[in-house]
């Protein structure tokens, strides 16, 4: 399978990522996904499109560490973390977390933990194009 940590400009397929995870282990009994998408409204203003930039080496290292920690901390079997960068249109995919576990509760808990950690610790920044101009979102939503 592809390396389960990826930062890319291209879109991704949730179905394909789930299929890849199913191929990892026959012990997986539940897969939980979080898919973040681009919305057209934020902090009281319209949003026309988003641009994400990242500090490549550090962002990838941090995502690798999130995956490793999740695999240690929770009773789960597989984790995939993907994030897109570059220009993203409204409604498009931004981020995907996929967690596979023997049982659902561990997968739910780990998936929520992974997206929270990603938002807090991965050096990625979002710029919104709004009627007032282009605005960097440099506070945690």
């Amino acid at each position: 399978m592809d390396f389960p940590i990826r930062i890319q400009s291209a879109d991704f397929s949730v179905e394909e990522e789930i299929a890849k995870m199913k191929a990892v282990s026959k012990r997986i009994g539940g897969i939980v996904t979080f898919l973040g998408t681009a919305r057209d409204f934020s902090n009281g203003h319209a949003v026309f499109k988003l641009t994400f930039e990242h500090y490549a080496a550090m962002a990838e290292q941090t995502m690798v560490r999130i995956r490793e920690k999740a695999l240690e901390k929770f009773d789960i079997l597989a984790v995939t973390l993907l994030h897109r960068v570059g220009v993203i249109g409204i409604g498009e995919n931004i981020v995907l977390i996929v967690v596979g576990a023997t049982h659902r509760q561990d997968a739910f808990t780990a998936c929520a933990w992974c997206i929270d950690e990603l938002k807090k610790t991965v050096p990625i920044w979002k710029r919104e194009e709004t009627p007032e101009g282009k605005i960097w979102v440099t506070e945690r939503p």
Binding site: M58, I124, T138
Partner: protein, 81 residues
Amino acid sequence: MTIRFFAHLKDLAGVESVSLPLERDCPLLQLISQLEETIPSLKGFTVGRGIQIAVNQVFIDKTAIIHPGDEIAFLPPFSGG
């Protein structure tokens, strides 16, 4: 030694990165003063306001010593996800 900027700091600096000549080890705060003299538009924006600083992709605090060849990055609060 290279200094990198991201998000609004890159817009303020007007460049993605800058190289400052550094012949010997230097305290981070001294380097910041030198940076703000080189790029005055960054004055007051490189410390506080949730800005974190990384050296060679590792977070450091204000007491850090910078070495020639280091990569310094000024990181505004993250907004991925």
